[in-house]
Symmetry: D2
Subunit: 326 residues, 4 copies
């Protein structure tokens, strides 16, 4: 394989806290090994439109603690077409970019797999998404921050819930997955958690509320965005209101605050570790894999495995919610 | 007037960060002057139902930093009836409570005014509400914390808005008032602010968006809950989507997180100052007034003035939003 | 007076949270009035060395929430000499800068007063310092943030103090002033506060500790950096250890964390208000004054008054500490 | 083995954020299995002195988010003597406590091992310490929070370091271990990290500072409390001042803030998982082991292994610091 002289780095898909820490790690590691590095704006869309920014040490100074992504991110329809990818390849060739580090989620890696194969470009991926829904890494960059953001927000809701003896139904992010709901639910001491991966038994919840009637002053129920059996947060609230008219039941949709904010230490360290590894492995000839952290060690997973495998819900965590909230 | 031997303190209406700091101040000041003090649970409702808790120094230890209210709060229909107030009076008499400190907003003070007159009980009020909609104090207890909570939340939204070049319409609390929207709007560098107190000119906003098209990557528009001309946050979003289909426009309703959280230093200091003053003034024979802080000095306002007077919007702050967001 | 065409803005002296919000306000207001604006790096030192950065709207985008100052700050010996100021003047003339906004504290304004008089340059000042030690504004930019930073830090110390029944002596910033100590002391519920402005009576403190022996599990004593009677935080700790060998007494020096961090909403709003006013007033011909906020209204104070007048300690706040901690 | 009817839970040694979440988990799990549970105050000291508090569901309501430990903690000389342990055993017998969950660090487990053997009491331990210096769990309860507290504090210091182009030497906790320094050093983008586990080469550091002279405006050097080669933070500062008199070099000792604060989501989830497992395993007859989390799964380690084994520094993390700070 030909030696790599210039690496391109970009973020794609939904933004996640820690993406900037990952960009910094990729840029500085490349420079450490005397390889040029170029930032590509707006993901695949910017690659096609030629948004290229030569990076130096200062370009990434003082960004490790910032939310969002300084390279910006976007979803690209054009890149799903052969013409779009051809244009992207031409742009990279003009820039002399001969390898890529892609930071994002499954959509990002799907594109990277096809593109890498079509044009034989070495690409490695970093899992940057708050959803933690990728196979091949214990945590994705942004997940820990999102869990802590939800925790802080619901701690605030708990204050007012306690003061008014209220029942709160809180909807958290997770279109296809309950991973955010599950962990944050334990973290805030939720009464119950409703997620797409498991059958939601509202009757059981109503019975729990009945049982703990005298015992509890406030209750928080976490519902994942993508959860459908329950009919969603507002429907759950209606069911509870019908059964317990005397309860003061409210709904809160946390929304977009879950994507932003300063990355936690864990997300920063994770981003640094996989960012350094990605560049070092590219230089060794590795390609078409996601670089993750499994059991504290760097691990590599082919793109198609990383996105295809369903991340299983830890049943033990569901048991814990039940035991601790009874 | 007969000497005061036992003071009752309670929180009523919506909870606000800093209420605990106020309770602590009232309790410790009463004890400092060797006056007994009783906490009344759930506001007027608890007064009627006899929820009385004798307080000592330890009862309020380590609560100055906690959100919500340890005495809980509620709205009381019963207290709006003469029978309810009679029962409340009997309960106080049985307890030997001969003066009250009421912590809450306009509803709380309306009740306090009537009750104090009907039964000739000395009552002083502390402005505890995030809405800052009371006359006779520069800030209400909880307002500064709510503004900072909104600011932190929208700073997070800004991260993702910047990363995706999005327009966000953010709805903040304020059913009858734009005071939260106005201050937090300046604090987060909002593009525009829509509040009930002023005519909302959506055309003007659309023109601003048009003008700044090339100039800006993300935009945050703050809409007060009670703002109606615009049709609300979702309607504003629809109007913008129609006019600028290429913009990625989103809505976020901040909701109940705005009531909770640790009180800021300013809210704690305010609560301590008015709490101490309320007890000292009760002991001097003052009654039927709200104790506020005006221009850094303790000020007293009759209950009916405190709630009747409309708090005016500072037009200069609106000008600042326009100048700084252009 | 000749019309102003180009304004220079700089930060000088110790950095304070909110300086960036002030820079943003000055830059955008100038552009709003179609006046050019130049950022000057490293205060007077950069003025002499010619560190000039033309500013546009984007130069100050997304900085309102950042701590520190993007223009950097420094202390300048050279500017204290006539030669240094002459060089500074020549640099400004070469740049065509015909007016200045100086953001800093007393040292900054002392220089501004002399420089403005020597070369007849209109200069207005913004109070940017965490110390709140300037006459002519209720709060300086950065003060509220510093108070909240101290409060958050001591809330953490309180957790461990409570868990171990410890006495903590916490030193906060304030070389010549106890204003940070006083407000944060109330905010965190300090047992006692020691400040330069008042005689420190350690015997009285020891008696209080004796009295509350059974009553209290943890105690926090706040000592201002500049407080001397007591001999400083470590000496106070020694005195307490001698008198109460069974107490577990510790010292914590908060140090430089007090200067950094995201500005609070209050500091951002303050910075925006005075920043807008400074430019508007410069254009109206005002000069040699500090622009502050007094009782919620913009106020102007000649530089020499702003720095000469001693800011008095609010005795009422000292009383509150005593009442609430007894 | 006889059936367990009443479990005692206590915290011992230095406090750590998340201890309350662990207490809550132990109490609620015991009640879930219809086993009585008693809180023991002040660790072994309180066991000897008979500080016993019967716990119910409400006893641990709303504490999951609180720093410190509601049961308080202490170090006990008396428990190191056979007489002390005999008295402790008598107290437990009088209370009918037939099993224990000990939350703390190596000192706590050393005592638990001896006590459990002497009196044949089943005891399981939870790793509650910010130092992460126990073998048999990937993270100890409190470590992640401490890392984030250091990160937030140094992010603030970075603001002022950047504004003044300063070099900061920051001392973090870790008497015998550099684990806090190492992880937080990566998280805040430290220039260099000095820890007890590795030889500190100050010359190398000075050379790095020389090399990056033009390249960098601010630098943060993290020194672990227990690091000795360097002579400590103040000595490192002196060496740098001598070699680079023009650098503005400062020292900051973070101190006790590192032990307090709200636990992070990760520490809360960890505490819940091991707390539930401890009670379930006690009921199954397990004893004399620490319950940890290894690679995401509950793991058990005999007390003497947990404390004897030295936790190794991840050399790869040291490499990352060097690569990313060059």
């Amino acid at each position: 394989m030909s030696e790599i002289k210039k690496i391109g780095v970009f973020t794609s898909g939904g933004d996640a806290p820690g993406m900037n820490a990952a960009i910094r790690a990729v840029v500085r590691t490349a420079l450490y090994y005397n390889v040029e590095v170029v930032g590509i704006g707006r993901g695949y869309e910017g690659m096609i439109n030629g948004e290229f920014y030569p990076m130096n040490r200062r370009s990434v100074a003082n960004i490790i603690q910032r939310g969002g992504t300084i390279l910006k991110t976007a979803r690209s329809k054009a890149f799903m077409t052969p013409e779009g990818r051809k244009e992207a390849y031409n742009q990279l060739t003009n820039q002399g970019i001969d390898a890529l580090v892609a930071i994002g989620g499954d959509g990002t890696f799907t594109g990277a797999k096809i593109f890498g194969e079509e044009y034989n470009i070495p690409i490695l991926g970093l899992a940057g998404t708050i959803d933690n829904d990728l196979y091949g890494t214990d945590f994705t960059i942004g997940y820990d921050t999102a869990i802590n953001t939800v925790t802080d927000a619901v701690d605030k809701i708990r204050d007012t819930a306690e003061s008014h003896d209220r029942v709160f139904i809180v909807e958290v992010m997770g279109r296809d997955s309950g991973l955010i709901a599950l962990r944050s639910g334990i973290s805030i001491g939720a009464e119950s958690i409703m997620i797409p991966e498991t059958k939601t038994d509202i009757e059981a919840l109503l019975n729990r509320l009945e049982m703990s009637r005298k015992d509890k002053s406030s209750r928080i129920i976490i519902v994942a965005e993508g959860e459908e059996d329950s009919g969603g947060a507002f429907h759950v609230a209606d069911v509870i209101k019908n059964r317990f008219p005397t309860f003061d039941t409210r709904v809160s949709i946390l929304g977009h605050i879950q994507r932003g904010g300063k990355p936690t230490a864990m997300d920063r360290v994770l981003a640094c570790r996989v960012g350094v590894a990605a560049v070092e492995e590219l230089l060794k000839g590795r390609k078409a894999e996601m670089v993750g952290l499994v059991h504290g060690k760097i691990a590599f997973t082919p793109f198609d495995h990383a996105i295809k495998h369903h991340v299983e819900i830890n049943q033990n965590l569901l048991r814990i919610v039940e035991i601790l909230s009874l």
